[in-house]
Structure formats: structure tokens, C-alpha cells
Symmetry: C2
Subunit: 492 residues, 2 copies
């Protein structure tokens, strides 16, 4: 929060020579440190805000999951592998869900992970134009994951996993508590129905929603990314990205917006005296190698379109019709989301059908997102061209794991997902990989200073005609006698 | 789940005469009852799926909220009024948040509630074209709210409120446990930061996220709507709509998709033998009478647009610039959301600024949503014209509470939010009402049979330069000695 503004040093890392020093910020003061220390130990006792009494998730009979061989997670009707990874952070693989009718495990996803990030800052001036980070490929999303803080990063009942990585000198090192796994219960409802009293019967059936969360938090210098893979008993997988940490800020001579003649040229928001939070985007691109009941799958778009009725047919002038199209090649599956031309996006197994004949599938349900608006020929956008669409589908190719290319640092965009996809290979009834990008436009505000409250967004992988019917219909409700008996801790 | 298809009876409610009986479904069998009983008591013991051990949210020193005079809720840094309402369901009013710097409560929202719903089904045939429900105005969203089920609809620590309404004959009656209030902790993170080890110091600060939820569940015949108002200590209010319950289904002679020559003319999905789940939309429109630090506010659009750079200025070809525009009149504030033309939507107090000069405000953060695609002249869309845009802003007018008009049943769209807004009244620095519509396109799938797992979407009201800085920076972390000591219940 105390930038030395305008000072940049250009270094040739091969020759180890300083090529250029630019100091254009001489007139810009270094902001004061006041109110920037966020450590609890640094707060004065009279400043502490104790808003809440203790609250905890408790499991009197222990958790419902196990972790075998330090990588195989078994929970409720799910099984999957979990692996800390230097570049991706966390890799979830071989995710299978048990069919309630047959009792057998069925493939859902072969491998899912954070493939790349793209974080362009929106300031074209000398000291800022190059700030367009690709955090997985440039820094290692996993290498930047620090140990999680028990009771705060993850609740009491969490299980922690260590990562074992290679240091720059090749020696192995252990990153302890890098990933946590825990069951979450927020008081939400898995399904419910109450019959109206007109039936004369009191029917009310409700089931609580408990999920399993796999979490990692990467502190990529200033920012903190919290990545959650959340498994639900109804077969849904929710992938959530949370943003917290410290904004990247710019020094300025302004102390108040009223000194600024054209505030839109600030490239951001004045957060505090002499501190600007620069506008930027975050894109997080996921590699989702779906295997819906086996590896050969197709990508099906279910497009909703208005049909106009003729006046003598019906009093309705219009209705929506769902038209299904299987993508034949990669270009058919380059998707820009449109609110007024909506589709569902299914990964189906065309060779397997339900009892009544629907192809089994999982659908991608985008959440709140953002699209990159940069010029497609802008150098950072060429490097980050995997954000040119929100959805892509490629045939599996073991060399196509990293959306920005294997070697990102010197990339000019020659090895990105966009380049691969433009080959337009066949993707029907193949081992396909689905790619989805979550996006955030971030116009900073004063509440983000000096640490921003978590902002999050998510997408879902949701069964769609995968099960014959609601797979958790026969689960029991909570009953009072199952719940724990708790007392305050002795010290409280 | 056992429709008698094609049988409709047209009744004149004034004369109490049957005008017409139409029976076009004679050849369509009534679906079998197999697998439709969702009651736990009706499951055979060997069919029960016990997936999880007990889990509970526990508060050893009791909850952190109080409810005074049965309507004034005080929790953490929030205060608000809560009222069960026959039409709206729940009304949250006079929501104020305490400023951590001054200790004073500051106005955020004068009144917020579910103003209207619009649920058009996408089948233009005789027995279906008129199924375009407006549940608040036609049935009473509150009147359809049944008692909540303790431990399943709301967790153990919930407080329940009754509704007192007038029956059709004018007599008062009590709807017990209609609303619940509880604190939620899902294991999420309110804010965090870890310093990279390069600084040589172990700095890791994390704060858990605990929220207060106000919940109601309306069973509007087949469907169940779960409405949550969730308050966060960082000043954010999240409004979440969950959909569960029973699909409205159509009988068919088909037992398998392979018997259907053009499946897109089914108007839905074959869910089970002889049962089609008809495609439909859900729109839930919220009346949000914001009072950001007082009643006179303005609506500010912060539009992000690409700026092209000239080649000699910077190596970057483009960046995004935020342009702010205050809406002068209602038509300036009729907003269709666009992924590729994004804006933030702020309600600001133009007369109040932060220390560094930003106007104080709250922003509306849309979540995953859907837009109505029906013909604007289609009779149901004229009645539901409040869904023609996702966002509207009107000047406060006490007769403009219900987005579909006060009297919905015979409406032809003459008294909707769209009509009011087209008057194009001034809205700058006035007591304004923000309207937002959450939308869902619902193409049913077999998992929705016979009760659908909850699907939810939400939007946020988020402080934006309302506080001088992160308002929860000085809250303490969880420590082990604060947490409860729990044992399994004796019976377990």
C-alpha cells in the first residue's frame, strides 16, 4: 500500500544487465502507512471489533469422509483423487459418483484444474502497461499457495494435505497444509416441498444440504485467490473462486477527488490519500476433462429461441423452444455467452441413454462472469487469448493442458487454447476437454483498502439426465437426537 | 406427477357458470405413481440412502442476534425490521449498518421485498398457453408460505417468526414459523492475506465469514421458492432465490424419446414414462427502496469501455476505462445487462462524500440471470412487462409497490413497472427505488423428478465507497479456546 510510483528497472535476465532505469514518479509522494497494518496483533485493543460470539460446524461422530493413501477422497456418494500441483494449485481427478439405483460408481470428470489466470491492469502508462499477469504459468499457482490457517481458512473439522514440490535448486520441499478438505453445512436446503393445505394433509419434506469442500488459497504476491471445489450429494460440482488480499495500487499526488479535473483518467479509484486502486480484470480458466460415463463424449448446445405463433393457433404470440445441436468441430464450441440468446451447455455420452431415452450428461452452468474487452491484437490479449471466449471444447491432447501455453513467460500467444481450437478438430463422440473461464471486472472501492473483503464467483457442473431421477430423494432429514450436545469451552 | 392431460374447464367466477369443457387428452394415459412418493415415511428401509453423519452449526454462547418487539433484528453491525407479508412474503425495512469509525448507524435500505414473480410456461397449446403465473399478485407469496421445518429448513440455532394474516372470510389467522432468522457459517473466508515468504516474515491473517440469514419458503402449489436475505458484516446484503419442489408436468403418450419424431416439439423433457417437464422461466422482481445515508439518492452507471491507444503512446493497444453517468430520468435507468458492454450500477448519495471525495454508495451486483425472450406484445409478457429490463429505477411513489400492478388477476399490463418507468420522471437526487429481476430459464431434466434439488441464484447489494476502508479489518480471528466442546447425543 506504499508504492514508489513511476520507478521501473529493465533488466536482461540472461546477461544480468540493467538496461534502463526510468523514474517518472519523482513528484509523487509515497503514501503514509496510516491504517494499512492489517495484522490483528497490531490493532490497539480499543479498536478491535468483536461483532460475534463463537460459531462452529460440529460433527459429533466425526467427518463423513476419508482420505486414503493421502490422495483418494471418499465422501458420501463421491470418490475422487486430489493432488497438490506446483502450477495448477489443486488437481481433482477421476471424480466418480455412485448411482443410487445400481450402487455403482460412474465416471464424471477425468481431470479438472485451474489451467491459467490472466490479470490485465487497465493503465497504459510506462510503469503499468506490462502488468498483465498470467499467474499459473508465470509464478505457479501452487507454488504461491501458503499454508492454510486452521479454524479461519477452513473450519474445525478440516483435513489438511501437504504439497511436495521442487525448489529452484531442485531440492524437494514440503508446503504444509496447502490444501484442506472439509464438510460444510451453511443451513441450506438440498430439496424441499410442502403441500398446500388444500389437500387436507400436512405434508412437509425437507432435506438439509451438506457439501464437501476442497480448498486452496494462493497468495500471488498482493492478491489472494481462494479456489474451492465443492461436491454436492445431488451430483453437482461447484467451482468457486474467491478474491481477497491486497490491491495493486498506484501512487498519485492527489489527496482528494476534488483535485482531479478528469477522474476517469485516473485509471482507477482514489482509495486513500495518494493511493489509487487501478482498474483490472481477473480471468480464471479451468481445464475440465469430462468423462461422462466413459471418455468418449459430445458437446451439446441446447439453445432457447423464441417461436412466433400465428394468431389463429393460440392466444399466445410466442413461446421458447429448445433446439439441440451437437458440436461437430472445435469452432462450433467457441462460445460467447449471450443473455438474449441463451443456451445450456451439455457434455453428453451419446452412446448411453436413460430409461426413457435421454442421453446422459453433465451441464456447465456459468455463474456471474465477465468477458475480456481488450483489443484482440493487443499483446497481452494475444497471450491471454484463451479468454476470447468463455467456453471452448477441444479433443484431449496431452500437450494441451495449459491454456496460455506450456511456456508463458516469453509467449506471444503462439501456443494458446485459442490457437489449438482454431485447428477446428473433430470433437464429436471423442475424449473431449471443456474449458470455462470465470471473469471479474474489478473497479476498486475504498472498502478494498487495505485488504479487500472476499469477492467470489462460481460455476457448476450439474448432472442433466445423468441420473434416472433425483439421486438424493431417499436421504433422511435431520433429527434432533442426531445432533451434538455442546458446551462452551472452559476458557470462554 | 400424475396429470390428467388436456382437460380444461372454463368457469365464469362472477356468474359461477361453467362456460366450456375441453377434453383433448383422452388418448393420453395418466402416468403411473411409481417412484413419485417423496415422503421419508413412505420409503422402504432398504431404499434409504444414509450418506452422511450428523453435522450442525453450534454456538456455545448462544446466537449473536436479538429480535426485539418481534420485528427489530439486531445482529453484529446491522439493524433492520422484519415483517411477514401476505403478498410479498417477507419485507425487510429500515436496514442500517454501523460505521466502524463513528459507531453510528447509517441508512442503507428503507424497504426491500419480492414485488412480483412471473413464470411463463413455454407451451402454446390449449391446456397450457395460459400458464403464465404471477405468484405474488395472484396467490400471495406470503399466503403460500407454509411453516418452516426446524433443523431442515433452518439450522438448530434459528429463531422463528409467525405471520398473522386475514383469511378469505376476514378472520385473522396465524401462520406459525413462517420466517426464520439464523446465523450461518459455511467455513468461508471474510478476508485473508498471506505474505509471500520473500519478505522473510510469516504473515498470515484470515477472518472467518459468518452471516445472518432471514429465510422464507413459499410453496406456490407445486413449486417451492426459498427466499434468503443474507447480511454480511462487511456491509453486503445478498438476496438469494432457491427453487425446489415439484415441476409442473404434462401428460404424454410417449414412454421413450425414441418414439418421438421431433423431440423439440415436446415443449420440454421426457422425465419418466408419460411425463413431460415443460420448459418455463422464473422471474423474481425485487423492490429495493435504497436510502444510502438518507433518502435522496442518484443512480450512477459506471460503464467500462475499451480505449484504443495510438502506437507511439504505449506498447499496449487498448485498456478499459470507467465512465460514470448519473441517470437523469427513468429511461436512463432501463438496463438490459450486456456481457460485452459491462457496467456497475451504483446508488449513491450525491451530497455525501468520503474523506478522499468519493460519493458514498451501494452497488447492485447482478448474479447469474436470464432475460425474458417472449414477444413484447404477447399478452403474458405485457402483464409481466416488468421483466423487459433487468434493472429499473423509479422515483418513490407509494402506489408503485407491485411491479405487475396492484390488481394482477385481470391485468392487461396497464399498471406495470414498465408503464410507470416510461413516464420518464426525474430520478436524480430523489428518493429512488431500484428494481432488479433475477431470472432462470428452466429446461427440466430427470434429476428434477419427482422433487427437484434446489437451484439457486442471487444478487448482492454491496457497499462501494460507503465505508472509508474495509469495515471488518479489526475483527478478531477464530481461536480454538472459543469453540464449543461437543459430544454425540446420548441416543446416537
Amino acid at each position: 500500500m506504499r508504492p514508489i510510483e513511476g520507478l521501473t528497472v529493465l533488466v536482461d535476465l540472461d546477461t544480468r544487465q540493467v538496461l534502463e532505469i526510468s523514474d517518472k514518479g519523482g513528484s509523487i509522494p509515497i503514501p503514509k502507512a496510516a491504517n494499512t497494518d492489517y495484522r490483528y496483533s497490531a490493532q490497539k485493543p480499543n479498536q478491535v471489533l468483536k461483532l460475534l460470539k463463537p460459531i462452529s460446524i460440529e460433527q459429533p461422530n466425526g467427518p463423513s469422509f476419508t482420505v486414503e493413501d493421502d490422495h483418494l477422497v471418499k465422501w458420501a456418494n463421491w470418490e475422487f483423487h486430489l493432488k497438490p500441483d506446483a502450477r495448477a494449485g489443486v488437481i481433482v481427478s477421476r471424480a466418480k459418483v455412485r448411482d443410487p439405483n445400481t450402487g455403482e460408481f460412474r465416471d464424471v470428470m477425468y481431470k479438472g484444474f485451474t489451467s491459467e489466470l490472466f490479470v490485465p491492469y487497465m493503465d497504459p502508462t510506462d510503469a503499468w502497461y506490462f502488468k498483465t499477469y498470467m499467474d499459473a504459468g508465470e509464478y505457479g499457482f501452487g507454488l504461491q499457495a501458503m499454508p492454510l490457517e486452521p479454524l479461519n481458512d477452513c473450519p474445525r473439522n478440516a483435513h489438511y494435505m501437504d504439497g511436495v514440490f521442487a525448489a529452484a535448486d531442485g531440492r524437494p520441499y514440503v508446503r504444509s497444509n496447502m490444501v484442506c478438505v472439509f464438510e460444510s453445512y451453511a443451513g441450506d436446503i438440498a430439496w424441499r416441498h410442502t403441500e398446500c393445505p388444500i389437500t387436507g394433509m400436512q405434508i412437509r419434506e425437507v432435506r438439509p444440504k451438506v457439501t464437501l469442500v476442497v480448498r486452496m488459497a494462493a497468495s500471488v504476491a498482493n492478491y489472494d485467490y481462494i479456489i474451492d471445489w465443492e461436491f454436492q450429494t445431488d451430483g453437482l460440482i461447484r467451482v468457486k473462486v474467491g478474491l481477497s488480499g491486497i490491491l495493486m495500487v498506484k501512487g498519485t499526488s492527489y489527496e482528494n477527488v476534488n483535485q482531479v479535473s478528469s477522474p476517469e483518467n485516473l485509471h482507477g479509484t482514489l482509495l486513500s490519500e495518494n493511493v489509487i486502486g487501478v482498474i483490472h480484470d481477473h480471468y480464471v480458466t479451468f481445464h475440465l476433462d469430462m468423462d461422462v460415463d466413459g471418455s468418449d463424449n459430445s458437446f451439446l448446445k441446447v439453445n432457447l429461441q423464441r417461436v412466433q405463433n400465428s394468431p389463429n393457433e393460440t392466444p399466445r404470440k410466442s413461446y421458447l423452444k429448445a433446439t439441440k445441436t451437437v458440436a461437430k468441430t472445435e469452432k462450433d464450441a467457441q462460445v460467447k455467452l449471450k443473455l438474449y440468446d441463451p443456451s445450456e451447455f451439455h457434455v453428453i455420452n451419446p452412446t448411453k441413454r436413460t430409461r426413457v431415452g435421454n442421453p446422459v450428461g453433465y451441464k456447465l452452468v456459468p455463474g456471474g462472469t465477465a468477458a475480456s474487452l481488450l483489443d484482440l491484437d493487443d499483446p497481452p490479449q494475444k497471450r491471454g487469448a484463451f479468454t476470447n471466449n468463455q467456453i471452448w471444447v477441444t479433443p484431449y491432447n496431452r500437450s494441451e493442458q495449459w491454456a496460455g501455453g506450456l511456456l508463458v513467460c516469453q509467449s506471444q500467444g503462439e501456443d494458446t487454447l485459442a490457437v489449438w481450437s482454431d485447428r477446428d478438430r473433430p470433437i464429436e463422440n471423442k475424449d473431449i476437454v471443456l474449458w470455462y473461464t470465470l471473469g471479474f471486472h474489478h473497479v476498486p472501492c475504498q472498502e478494498d483498502f487495505p485488504i479487500m473483503p472476499t469477492v467470489s464467483s462460481s460455476f457448476d457442473l450439474k448432472p442433466v439426465n445423468f441420473f434416472e431421477s433425483n439421486p438424493i430423494l431417499r436421504t433422511p432429514p435431520n433429527v434432533d437426537t442426531d445432533l451434538p450436545v455442546c458446551v462452551a469451552a472452559a476458557s470462554a
